[in-house]
């Protein structure tokens, strides 16, 4: 095994890189779906229709208060094995998609609440002025309320993205070979270098999440709405 503690890291570098590439794809795909779904949920929660409000509230409260591992395991075993939801011939691709469903369904609940808090920062007069111009509810949200709400919650959305990046490791529970599952298998292969491998993975996560936080902090300042 030679090469000291760093030897294992260097030797397995392509494997680690591949695992993190999967983590990144898992994060980005889930982030996009969660953002879209979260926005729809937020629109439902402020809509004039009681049924939509109720449905979105139930969804958010259920998903937000369920452990992510449960959601992922449900997606993998419940949707995948029992209900036979299939996206691909390849088993690993199928589980990848199922984990994306779980991660985005879970994260969407938090995105929804972030957007809702963003909507609360928009003075009521903005929506009233839009209504007075004759904009419909949807136009009002789309052109007046949501653009301002999003600008107010860029930093919290950054935190959600960081949380999501780390949460992708839960996909290991249904065998998706992202970073944490790969780390586990590397531990087994290089038992003399577990500390180095751990710090290698931890550092790689920092490389992903620290710039995310900085970028979103910057964006939040740039895009802030002056009142």
């Amino acid at each position: 095994m030679g090469g000291g503690a760093l030897g294992a890291l260097i030797e397995e570098f392509p494997v680690i890189l591949g695992a993190f590439w999967l983590t990144i794809r898992l994060t980005l795909a889930s982030a996009v779906v969660a953002l879209v779904l979260g926005t729809v949920l937020a629109a439902m929660r402020v809509s004039p229709f009681g049924v939509l409000r109720g449905a979105a509230t139930v969804y958010v409260n259920t998903l937000r208060n369920t452990p992510l591992t449960l959601v992922i395991v449900f997606c993998g075993l419940g949707l995948g094995l029992v209900l036979d939801v299939s996206f691909s011939e390849s088993l690993s691709t199928n589980y990848l998609w199922l984990s994306i469903i779980g991660l985005s369904a879970y994260t969407a609940a938090f995105v929804c609440e972030a957007i809702r808090s963003g909507i609360n920062t928009v003075p009521v007069g903005q929506a009233e002025a839009a209504r007075a111009l004759g904009l419909t509810f949807t136009q009002n949200l789309r052109f007046v309320v949501l653009p301002q709400a999003f600008r107010a919650i860029i930093a919290p959305l950054g935190s959600l993205l960081i949380a999501l990046t780390k949460n992708t490791t839960v996909a290991a529970a249904i065998g998706v070979a992202e970073a944490s599952l790969t780390m586990k298998s590397l531990f087994e292969q290089h038992q003399d270098s577990v500390v180095a491998i751990f710090f290698g993975f931890a550092l790689a996560f920092l490389v992903l999440t620290l710039p995310t936080g900085l970028l979103f902090g910057r964006l939040a300042r740039w895009l802030k709405v002056a009142r």
């Binding site: 903005q126 002025a129 007075a132 004759g134 301002q148």
Partner: protein, 251 residues
């Protein structure tokens, strides 16, 4: 006195009642506003003037009574209501310009999204309106970069951009620094001269005297009296109005 008659009536409120919880804010309001008429609503705070303004484009619902606009009963919701609102301009006390949009975008949003007018045309018209209210040079700025008086003039241009049949002004100068009041009133006076139908909630007696056809005096949710500005200010018909006028005119 210019009393609205039948066919020329643009807005008609009949027996309108409105409560905020236990508070009866509009009591059996009957009011007709004729096309081209400028009506000023005055009265002590809490009299229901702003609510009167807001029920006409249904920013507030009413509990009973009927409101007709341009011969049609006020729609309750949906697209018909949106269409009604697009025909009634509204200018708010706190301007309410869209904070994330430039001045020009504020003026063109309604025409483009509601009236489906092509952007170049909407921008051309928008610039003309900004020119008219004297803000054309600030078209690319954001609302927060403008003074209150400038913002309110943009808000008037934004309302005008929809070619409304009427404009409601809800205390348009109350949030302004004193030196900015006149620039806004000047725009409003010129609108009145051009024949725009206006309902103006204001304490600006100068505006009422110069531009209004009629003054509606409200107190405790009811219309106490209405008259021409001259008649009302020089010879109020009720104790309530005399009392109110003595308070605002003596200092």
């Amino acid at each position: 006195m210019t009393e609205a008659v039948g066919s020329t009536s643009l807005v008609r409120l009949e027996n309108v009642n409105k409560h905020f919880g236990a508070l009866h804010v509009l009591k059996d309001i009957d009011l007709d506003i004729a096309r081209g008429e400028v009506v000023v609503a005055i009265g002590p705070s809490g009299a229901g003037k702003s609510t009167l303004c807001r029920v006409i484009n249904r920013l507030e619902t009413i509990d009973s009574g009927t409101i007709t606009f341009d011969g049609q009963s006020l729609a309750v919701e949906g697209r018909a209501l949106a269409r009604l609102r697009s025909e009634v301009g509204m200018v708010f006390q706190s301007f309410n310009l869209f904070a994330h949009k430039t001045i020009l975008e504020n003026v063109t949003l309604g025409p483009i999204k509601v009236r489906k007018i092509a952007r170049p045309e909407a921008e051309k018209r928008g610039m003309e309106l900004l020119e008219r209210v004297g803000i054309a040079s600030q078209a690319q700025k954001y609302p927060a970069q403008l003074s209150g008086g400038q913002q309110q003039r943009v808000a008037i241009a934004r309302a005008l951009a929809m070619d409304p049949k009427m404009i409601l002004f809800d205390e348009p100068t109350s949030a302004l620094d004193p030196e900015m009041v006149q620039e806004v009133l000047d725009v409003m006076i010129s609108l009145a001269r051009d024949g725009m139908t206006m309902l103006v909630v204001t304490h600006e007696m100068g505006f009422a005297r110069r531009a209004a056809n009629r003054v509606v005096f409200m107190a405790d949710g009811a219309v106490v009296e209405q008259n021409t500005p001259d008649e009302f200010f020089t010879n109020p018909g009720t104790d309530r109005a005399r009392d109110f006028l003595s308070k605002i005119l003596t200092h």
